[in-house]
């Protein structure tokens, strides 16, 4: 068994705190307890990406101890979903990780489809891939804009949000809404992609790599940005895996791991793309991974659009009347269709008994969904594996040796979405 790990390590040994892996205790041999000042960083703080509270023990400017407190955005999505039919509960995952809504919907729908054993038409799969990759760029752009803003690069925020708007326009074109589109349905898509979507998307693919280059040029030649990100927030490959990291966190620590490549789902084994890996394990490496991933996503989208043009006119949703709503026009002429429509909307379809775990590579890493069905019309148990929660578990490891000003850059580089952390 050969390794996907890098050959050299960022630091010797492990930096995961001994007593509790997520709490960095003040070391009395290094810091005088008299000098320690404990500060609450959040939950309401402009630079914590939502309601994250960090309890920081400071020795002067130095971070001596840290403890992350979460739960301020806990809304009980998983509990609510247990009381909704399968059909209705698809709206919830998108609100959990609200920046990668398409991925979350996709992950939940894939889990239901796995239980149902449903075949999805290829046109729907290509469209799902294109949307998931657009969503990845969207999420990375928000990350880039806000992270740079927090370190003082204000103008980049507007560049990033300009491109993000172009993506939201595409979502609006496809699903009718800009956010939380609920466009992915069990069996395929809610509607066929509208005429002109691929042309618009191609125009976006032309312009996007230029925008990435532009943003990168703005940051890579800026001394402040480089000094504040390079060598900060170190995480070695071994520690990253032990702490359950995934996605850009792993790849920035030199682990060549991407679910799209290693355990392909949808048609990811049929497209060409590279997985960016940077071995430095610092904030700068995480930034580079995000930038390269946006370029790779554009490459994937282009290939998806070609396939979407080829499959023009093909079905976009499975033809299974027990699960999929019948076409609207049939309701006026067909008794059977009317019955199916009524049953699906009122009682909901039933899903075979069993338990599955489906994981996809969301913008933040491995987004998993553990589903238990008792054979009824509602999920018995839904449990999401949040990549952001895993990323925040690494806080106590990555802030070691940081100054208080670095905290902002380091916390941002973990890319936590608090909706995903707290659910």
């Amino acid at each position: 068994m050969t390794s996907v790990l890098p050959t050299t390590s960022v630091y010797e040994g492990s930096r995961i705190p001994e007593r509790v892996p997520t709490i960095l205790d003040v070391d009395p041999t290094k810091h005088d307890p008299e000098d320690i000042l404990t500060v609450n960083f959040g939950p309401n703080h402009p630079s914590t990406h939502g309601v994250l509270r960090l309890v920081v023990d400071l020795d002067g400017e130095q971070v001596a101890g840290i403890r992350a407190v979460i739960g301020y955005l806990h809304t009980g999505f998983e509990k609510t979903m247990e009381s909704k039919s399968w059909w209705k509960s698809i709206t919830y995952p998108a609100r959990i990780d609200y920046l990668s809504f398409q991925s979350m919907e996709l992950e939940y729908v894939l889990a239901i489809e796995k239980l149902l054993g449903l075949e999805v038409p290829r046109r729907a799969t290509w469209a799902r891939m294109a949307l998931a990759e657009l969503n990845r760029i969207h999420s990375h752009l928000v990350w880039l804009g806000t992270s740079a803003l927090e370190i003082g690069a204000i103008s980049l925020f507007w560049y990033a949000f300009d491109d993000r708007d172009a993506i939201l326009d595409l979502f609006e074109l496809a699903g009718g809404t800009r956010f939380h589109t609920r466009y992915v349905q069990v069996g395929g898509l809610a509607e066929d992609l509208p005429p002109g979507f691929t042309e618009e998307a191609r125009r976006f693919c032309e312009q996007m790599p230029r925008s990435v280059d532009e943003c990168e040029a703005l940051l890579d030649r800026q001394v402040i940005w480089l000094e504040r990100t390079k060598g900060i927030g170190l995480l070695s490959a071994e520690d990253a895996i032990a702490l359950g990291q995934s996605g850009p966190m792993l790849r920035a620590s030199g682990v060549d791991w991407d679910l799209r490549k290693r355990m392909p789902y949808l048609f990811y084994d049929a497209v060409e793309f590279d997985v960016p890996v940077y071995p430095e394990g610092d904030v700068y490496a995480r930034y580079k991974v995000h930038m390269d991933e946006m370029r790779e996503s554009v490459r994937i989208i282009r290939q998806c659009l070609d396939r979407l043009d080829e499959t023009e006119g093909e079905p976009w949703i499975a033809d299974d009347r027990k699960v999929v709503l019948p076409p609207r026009h049939e309701l006026h002429t067909s008794m059977e269709s009317l019955i199916h429509h009524f049953k699906i909307v009122t009682e909901g379809y039933t899903v075979p008994e069993g338990e599955v775990y489906v994981a996809i590579e969301s913008p933040r890493g491995e987004a998993g969904c553990y589903l238990v069905s008792n054979g009824g019309p509602r999920p018995w148990r839904v449990k999401f594996r949040p990549p952001s929660l895993a990323a925040l578990q690494a806080t106590a490891t990555v802030v070691q040796g940081c100054l208080v000003a670095d905290l902002v850059a380091v916390a941002a580089s973990l890319d936590p979405v608090m909706g995903d952390v707290d659910r």
Binding site: S83, T350, Y370, L389
Partner: protein, 182 residues
């Protein structure tokens, strides 16, 4: 058969292309250490607890069929087509493991517990178990023996009850001032 050397293995199930290893809760740390060191499962991606209280019992307005299936000709036949298979105990805790290597694999390790029954913490096997176990304690009330900091993760520290249990009501939070006005 793969994974037959796992210590404390009770049952090996395969469904939906996923392998589930049901393990004796008393030997969970042993089993996990074996899977990490011998089988190369270097990453614990998630711990998911589930409550099976009322599993297979008829709902308030629903109809539940027989174990063989339901009689479709019976008037008012709707809801579950068959009674789901019984579960050994009330709670299941599923550890989702991932092998991050050139030869990737997933496996689910599962233990079954009664209300209040303790299970050993796997935090010394994978540090990522820290918050996952705290969440399972907070939401489902699974006590993990040997966890150094088993406090609530998402709910406030003084919260009563475990919200994701099946006997915890939906919207069961008392409204402030309602008693004072009465």
């Amino acid at each position: 058969m793969a994974y037959e050397g796992v210590p404390g293995l009770v049952e090996r199930k395969e469904a939906f292309d996923e392998i589930t290893l049901v393990v004796d809760p008393a030997r969970i740390v042993e089993a996990c250490t074996y899977l990490r060191d011998e089988e190369g499962f270097n990453c614990l991606v998630d711990i998911a607890a589930a409550d099976y209280l009322g599993w297979g019992e008829p709902g308030v307005a629903g109809y539940l069929g027989t174990a063989e299936g339901r009689d479709l000709n019976r008037p008012g036949s709707q809801g579950h087509a068959r009674v789901p298979d019984p579960k050994p105990k009330r709670f299941s805790v599923s550890y989702h493991l991932l092998r991050i290597s050139k030869d990737p694999a997933r496996v689910r390790v599962q233990v079954w517990l009664d209300d209040g029954e303790e299970v050993d913490s796997v935090i010394r096997v994978w540090p990522s178990a820290d918050w996952f176990e705290r969440e399972a304690w907070d939401m489902m009330g699974i006590p993990f023996r040997g966890h150094p900091n088993l406090v609530r993760l998402l709910m406030p520290e003084d919260w009563e009850g475990h919200p994701l249990r099946k006997d915890y009501p939906l919207g069961g939070e008392p409204v402030r001032f309602s008693e004072e006005e009465a």
